[in-house]
Amino acid sequence: MEKLAIEQALSSPSVMFDPDSGLLEIAGESYPENSFEFYAPIIAWLKQYLAERDSPVAFRIDLSYLNTSSTKCMIDLLDELESAFKSGRTVMVEWYYDDENERELDTIDEFREDFSMPFSAVPRKDPA
């Protein structure tokens, strides 16, 4: 299975999903013109990866802004990981935030309230 690598653009985040290390990273800001089009291959890649392998997965999210449809797509990605976790896989989600902005932490709490997999909010070292 190939690595999934998408470079950061003005309105879309960088994506680096490595099937060998199990590290999935997404960073930047997300407000592409068509979020569903942007995220469809990412969701497809994740589904295939979760089906083909059973190694531990770490999903690292460092997004300072998401528009509404990206939010929906992010929940879809997290749903995939949650169901893998429920069927016994080791899954870890880390969401980076700016510790000077309280709202960001509130937003992460909104995201994680429905999930049972390990889901931590990590203060960002350097401003993104």
Binding site: Y65, L66, T68, T71, N101, R103, T107, F111, D114
Partner: protein, 243 residues
């Protein structure tokens, strides 16, 4: 019995043409009643789950919109504010004076600016240090805020100079505001590490005349302020009187 009454309620849902599953339900009418009921319950569950997710997405999204809005506000405030005093900066007051000049030109209304300069400010810095100097600048800024009219805009023009924009003010009114500020500052003391620092300001008033340009108006206020310094400081001069 219980089952029966629930079906009764669900029939109300079946017949409601505004609900999203109405069309599918109609198609199912030909099917056996029991089958249709199961289908309806499934749809209802899916619909409720979608509604719940939709509400969540909107909540999260609203959170991002709010923090974006706040970040923008912080940026625009920083771009137009003097960091130390919280007054407008040079760029902001220039925009305001420009807008007031256009307004006075169009409606033929009066308009004044006042330039204030702290007397012997270098002496404050030399004798008490820069921290005391900053304290003095903040004190002058506070005095300005409390002396001017609601519609006036105060700015830190540079170093120890402050510029006030007074929309629709005649020279007399501007002199009145300037004198109020001058006496308030002269009658107060700035407390700094158990010391009482006394300061005064010299002020120059310039009044808009038809055809006035922004740089001319500011130069006139500067000339008036320098005249106030030369005639002994702690006073207000106005350009129309000088000319």
């Amino acid at each position: 019995m219980n089952d029966e009454s629930e079906r009764q309620t669900s029939n109300d849902f079946h017949d409601d043409p505004t609900l999203p599953w109405a069309e599918e339900i109609t198609a199912d009418r030909s099917l056996e009643r029991e089958k249709s009921y199961v289908h309806f319950v499934e749809l209802k569950q899916r619909y409720l789950a979608l509604l719940k997710q939709f509400a969540k997405v909107v909540r999260i999204s609203d959170g991002y919109q709010r923090s974006l809005k706040e970040a923008n506000l912080r940026l625009s405030t920083a771009a137009s504010t003097d960091y130390l005093t919280g007054l407008s900066n040079r760029r902001r007051i220039l925009d305001q004076i420009d807008a007031e000049l256009s307004r006075s030109r169009r409606h033929n209304t009066p308009f004044c600016i006042v330039l204030a300069d702290i007397d012997e400010f270098k002496g404050v810095n030399d004798s008490y240090g820069h921290e005391a100097g900053d304290r003095v600048l903040m004190f002058v800024a506070d005095s300005m805020r409390s002396s001017v009219r609601r519609e006036d805009l105060c700015s830190r023009w540079g170093g120890e100079e402050f510029l006030i924009c007074l929309p629709q003010a005649t020279a007399d009114q501007a002199v009145h505001v300037a004198e109020k500020l001058r006496t308030e500052i002269a009658d107060s003391t700035v407390k700094y590490q158990q010391m009482d620092i006394r300061i005064t300001v010299s002020l120059g008033v310039a009044e808009y005349r038809p055809g006035s340009k922004i740089d001319e108006l500011i130069r006139e206020a500067d000339i008036a302020m320098i005249a106030a310094k030369r005639s002994g400081k702690n006073r207000t001069c106005s350009f129309p009187e000088l000319s």
